[in-house]
Symmetry: C2
Subunit: 295 residues, 2 copies
């Protein structure tokens, strides 16, 4: 079976590579901090010492790293040369649509196809292959990578067309809406608590009827129970990075987004106060503490 | 079968009374504008000419009117005397929790029990009896009215305890969260449109996965298609009234709610600009027009 290069053995990369190995793919894994990839080596992945060493000529390399700079640093000329003509770079990180477009143009010059395929999944959802993929880029490359996304983490794949930036925009929209939902619940539950309403009943009502969606169910429980510190599935720092990308994209396209500014401020406060082990749900502390409640 | 008094033949009162009649209840209906209740007379309701005339001694009167003032004006001493000892007033309007508490105390003095039972349902959901009821007040009165709520509109009933204000607070939380969801989608879809993303695909992705809840599905389509003007199911003016109640309750309880302030401003603008036949979803025009898009 095909050998796949994978760059990034983080919270999401690890379950995805594990799934790819279980599906029978050979995986060459690169991670900047080598030790983090060693558990995957134990599962059968080949640990390599540079991004380019993960590539097979004409093959597929998937990258899932922290931010724009990290993608730019791994997707350099060496990786392009190693992938060569017919090669595909599947860029799964949450990055700016502009970065995707600039990288895609550079890839094309080097004969490599760039596909944007950001991941909608918490680590446990990726592990269970019930995540969602959104993809954009050239049609034939998208067809070629779909089985990999399905084997790795995705229950559903949504195709956003040829402009590579589109999938990145949708990923930012989704993360903005999650952050907005957390703010919304923080304010609503603050109102409940300040007015003697049983938060658990209110949570049960709202998240089994009008707001019966995984986002409200999951994050709502974390807000009501103040369970957003310790072992973060998605850290406040990463949430802040994403809201910065939302505002950057909004600013460049002249799109005023006051709610995005609010949640970005909330996350900035969590990071500024150096709340240890904070999941991004900790942005709820803002509305709760502003109301004099325990954050 | 029992005779029920019903006050208010509006968008929601009409389908609820229709359901009660179909379930075999006898209904005495009062509406300030008599003509609006005539279709219900045709279905078998008895049209009466004052709120008190809707009451049977020791019986149940349900009210579903526009705002706090309207509830205060119908639930006066005449209605109390007509209901008398053992009577129950089921107050279904979206009003301030404080108004509920004040009314409940006055009812009690007159021997009548006040139950708060605001309605979570658009008219078509009420008609289909798939709405949600939230109730608060004395336990025995709540037990007695449950079959009526089920016959009238409710698939689920959530009990918020003895403090009558609690159900009103939860109703306000829910409406605030719907308004917040509309703002969130307006900002997100503005970002999509300004960045060349296909809104329909983005809508499909977001509302079938992370945000697969009726609120996002229904209101999201209205935002994407700009279908919030003409034949409003819930008008911008009523939405503004509710957000005013949210902020009033927030202010009295010292609960800063910046997102609630934002959506209240958005609705105020829709009303200030006198947008004809505007559903409250028209608050989305704010974010869209701020981005230079068609509102």
């Amino acid at each position: 079976m095909e050998t796949i290069g994978f760059i990034g053995a983080g919270n999401l990369g690890t379950p995805i590579v594990t799934n790819l190995l279980q599906a029978g793919y050979k995986v060459k894994i690169y991670n900047r901090t080598r030790e983090k990839a060693q558990p995957l080596e134990a599962l059968g992945a080949e640990l390599v010492s540079s991004p380019a060493a993960a590539a097979v000529p004409g093959g597929i390399v998937m990258s899932l790293v922290a931010d724009d700079k990290a993608v730019e640093s791994v997707a350099g000329d060496e990786l392009m040369q190693a992938l060569g003509h017919g090669g595909i770079h599947v860029s799964m990180s949450t990055i700016s649509p502009d970065t995707s477009r600039i990288l895609a143009a550079h890839h094309q010059k080097m004969g490599v196809t760039y596909v944007a395929a950001p991941v909608f999944a918490r680590p446990e959802a990726a592990a269970a292959k019930i995540g969602n993929a959104v993809i954009s880029g050239p049609a034939d490359a998208k067809e070629r990578i779909k089985p990999l996304l399905q084997a790795g983490f995705a229950k559903n794949i949504f195709d956003l067309g040829e402009d590579v930036g589109s999938a990145n925009v949708l990923k930012l929209m989704g993360n903005f809406m999650i952050a907005g939902a957390i703010e919304m619940m923080a304010e609503a539950f603050a109102l409940a608590e300040k007015n003697g309403v049983d938060s658990k009943v209110a949570y049960e009502m709202l998240t089994t009827t009008l707001f019966a969606a995984p986002i409200f169910r999951g994050y709502g429980a974390m807000v009501v129970d103040r369970k957003y510190v310790g072992n973060p599935a998605f850290s406040a720092a990463l949430g802040l990075k994403d809201m910065n990308l939302v505002l950057q994209t909004a600013t460049r396209s002249h799109t005023p987004m006051p709610l995005a500014q609010l949640v970005q401020s909330r996350l900035m406060t969590v990071v500024a106060r150096d709340v240890k082990e904070a999941d991004w749900t900790a942005l709820a502390m803002g509305a709760l503490e502003d109301a004099g409640l325990k954050g």
